[in-house]
Assembly symmetry: C2
Homo-oligomer: 502 residues x 2
């Protein structure tokens, strides 16, 4: 368990408010000062208190629940971390549990129960009233990462023939349990979902209008089986506050609210970033500080091993050219720059592809268009970076940063004294040829790497798999082989014959 991160509370919350720490909570509880604790809940957001309370003993936590009004404890319970929740459930009487469980949103209870050991989960389910238990069991049936698994069943659905005033009355009746009343879902008399009404439109409407008159008919909806990444995308694209979730018969069975969608979008962005960085995604969303080094290592190792095995291909290629390297050791000196150049430029394209696919800027169907654009980009990048490289590689040799070993006037020099040989004709030719070969290899590698970097993620996306699996390191490993083949191919054609003529 870690100290709560108080950074956010300190620097970004402007209105002066009492600061909350674990120590302060502990001292208030020790003094049995229930009144002050109740006051904290008025002035401080639940999540800040929850972070400070996560490390309390179960008996201390129970004390908070006993002295604070129940309208605060539901949200507070939801913000605690899983360990604290489980400790509390263990320590609470069945009666206390009944209040906590039934004042919470069904989707939140479902998430909590889903991660609990069986004995605690059944204690929670026993405490749930009939409606809640039905909702939880219903929600538990949906596959992870689908719209069904993140939706809530607590929403307001009204008939389209209802008058505005009657609708407001119904909302007053039913609204307390709903997760949002800002979007009202409208069905016709055949129970088909036909539209939504925003609460503000309802408030501004004339009294003799029906919901049908004022509802939005251009609504989007998803199925229970829709992937949560697509749900996030729909919220972003259509600026939604809530999204209707339909079953296969096109009946409304749940809704997703914007706060849950924001969590999903954040989690999906994190997953993409981590996959791009060759990390196996985390199974639970505990955050960095709460993950043990063992778990973290386990997330790092699989890809490192896979990439090591794939790297064998580079070793194989390099080993076939080891005589060339022995003859022209300079070739080895430029290897890292060349391989990194290919990996980096391909990685840039991979990044653009994965993000573009995630944000649905393009799909596998646009393959031709994307490839053509990236090919033109690659040629430009290759040309400019290659020409820059040419000059740079000449300079490295003249400044003696890399050692040039050629026979000068019949004597093989092993060290290039600073500018000492610069007017020697053979030295001049050698530097130009090696720099030109390395620069051209760099340019070609950039083009090849970028083209591969378009094909891999889009190909994976066409197979309906996650394109982020084609991580930057994976691309680097593939680009390495291309770089080596191009480099030694050019070296064999131009540098080796030159050396032999000397």
């Amino acid at each position: 368990m870690e100290e709560p991160n108080t950074q956010t509370t300190e620097t970004k919350v402007i209105a002066p408010r009492p600061k909350i720490t674990t120590a302060r909570l502990k001292s208030l509880i020790a003094k049995k000062d229930g009144k002050s604790i109740q006051k904290l809940f008025v002035k401080i957001p639940d999540i800040d208190i929850a972070e400070a309370a996560n490390t309390l003993e179960p008996t201390e936590l129970i004390f908070i629940f006993r002295c604070v009004e129940s309208k605060y404890t539901a949200d507070f319970f939801d913000e605690l971390d899983q360990t604290a929740k489980e400790n509390l459930v263990k320590a609470m009487t069945d009666k206390e549990l009944v209040t906590i469980v039934n004042t919470q949103a069904a989707d939140d209870v479902t998430d909590t129960v889903g991660e609990m050991p069986a004995n605690l989960a059944s204690k929670v389910l026993k405490a749930a009233d009939k409606d809640m238990r039905k909702d939880i069991n219903y929600l538990l049936n949906y596959k992870e990462n689908t719209a069904g698994s993140i939706m809530t069943t607590e929403y307001i659905e009204l008939r389209d023939s209802l008058l505005v005033d009657d609708a407001i009355e119904k909302i007053r009746d039913q609204g307390k349990d709903a997760e949002t009343i800002y979007t009202i879902f409208v069905r016709d008399d055949k129970r088909n979902f036909v539209g939504t009404v925003d609460l503000d439109d309802l408030i501004f409407a004339k009294k003799n209008q029906t919901l049908h008159d004022i509802m939005n008919q251009d609504v989007v909806s998803c199925l229970t089986s829709t992937d949560q990444e697509e749900v996030g995308q729909m919220f972003r694209r259509y600026d939604l506050n809530a999204l209707a979730v339909l079953n296969d018969d096109r009946r409304l069975v749940g809704i997703i609210t914007i706060d849950d969608a924001v969590d999903v979008m954040t989690a999906e962005a994190t997953e993409d970033i981590e996959k791009l960085g060759a990390l196996t995604p985390a199974e639970t969303n505990d955050g960095y500080l709460k993950t043990s080094p063992e778990k973290m290592a386990w997330r790092c190792i699989p890809w490192l091993i896979i990439l090591l095995v794939m790297g064998t291909l580079s070793s194989l290629v390099l080993s076939r050219f080891d005589e060339k390297i022995a003859a022209v050791p300079l070739l080895a000196s430029f290897l890292p720059v060349l391989m990194d150049g290919g990996g980096n430029s391909g990685g840039q394209t991979t990044t653009l592809m994965v993000r573009g696919l995630a944000l649905k800027e393009f799909g596998p169907k646009q393959f031709g268009k994307v490839l053509w654009k990236e090919f033109r980009t690659a040629c430009l990048v290759g040309l400019i970076v290659g020409v820059f490289g040419l000059f740079w590689f000449v300079m490295e040799q003249y400044l003696g940063i890399v050692a040039v070993q050629i026979p000068v006037n019949g004597v093989k020099t092993t060290e290039n004294v600073f500018l000492g040989n610069c007017w020697n004709f053979e030295f001049f030719n050698f530097t130009i040829i090696t720099a030109a070969v390395t620069g051209s290899a760099l340019a070609l590698t950039i083009v090849v790497a970028k083209v591969i970097a378009v094909c891999l993620p889009l190909g994976v996306a066409a197979l309906k798999k996650d394109p982020a699996l084609m991580s930057e390191p994976l691309l680097t490993t593939v680009a390495d082989v291309a770089a080596l083949l191009i480099y030694f191919g050019l070296a064999e054609a131009f540098i080796i014959p030159f050396m032999e003529r000397l």
Copy 2:
């Protein structure tokens, strides 16, 4: 200009709706069928129509604006791309422009005007009424990427002493212009911002209650100068619908709504992903398909050149060891695997650091804790991957994937025939020593790379700069040098003496 991406509309929107394409719009306009066009706006979300309309001629666009009710055109205009907007502004009469400009949200007009050439911007400002012009000028004054630049000035602010019924009446009066009425901002009689009231609490309140009785006092707020990344973080942490923006005197001057916050969160995630991939962030948010190859190349080249120059250090190190490579060419064969291993494992840590910092899971203050956790992780990862590497490198030599060149029984073998030499004692020793050196170098490199990968982003964050600038490729380049020094250091200590004894 590109074809609209119809993917989203086709696959995720379930309710059957007329499909919209540029061709269909063009044909309706050619037939002057205003009625059908008006109908489209009832059934189809504005953004889908706007995407199809972006490629229309200005005269065709104007036709749409003339036949569609003005309550639809404001949102429609906002969803068009910048080029289409500018064409429209050019083509519209001043009177038409007045309607469009003044029915839009001030922050949207400000964004549009901010990107327009001066002559068009002044045409828009002339069309704006007094209030709108004041708002635009006010918003234009805030620095990019601050809360001030994304806030809107159209919100509802009420006195805390107001009765619930009077408040609802005021909302009915003022609400039409407000960007949201779901959160009401409350001030005391000294004009200090003291809390918020959610519209649902207002609807469920008793008639004799004042706003003060029902308002949330545990509200968070930000300053106009707060970075937009922090704004996104606050929405995520506190599940907000709207956030109050205060000036330095702690007076409310604007609000940020969740839909704008979602856009900011998406843009910030994209920027982090791109920086991690060594891309210069885009200046305008046009999306991949609308960016020209020249612009795209320009985003790729700076980091590639910087990394190429930094790679000189690797060349320098490698060049100093070229005699060792000539003596034991096998050393070169394992180079790519070793350097990639360091870069990849360091890149994993960079990814975790940049994302953790962006989500405020930890800050530079937790440096010691993060470093210690990552060090333990690195030791575990290094140990396991290093040991795996050892066996793998032995195998590569025995299978002849890499060529082993040692004097066997006095004759220097240049090719290792498949398993042919495996029972030779010197061959056995040589493979074990080289594999052990390479495996140990890999393990050490992983530890060093992961430690550097903690220090770079956290150090940059401590200097209040963007940690995502410490991209994975940058880390790779630094880790390369470490890998080479460790590898050749170990090779000099163990492999070279062994070779000399043969």
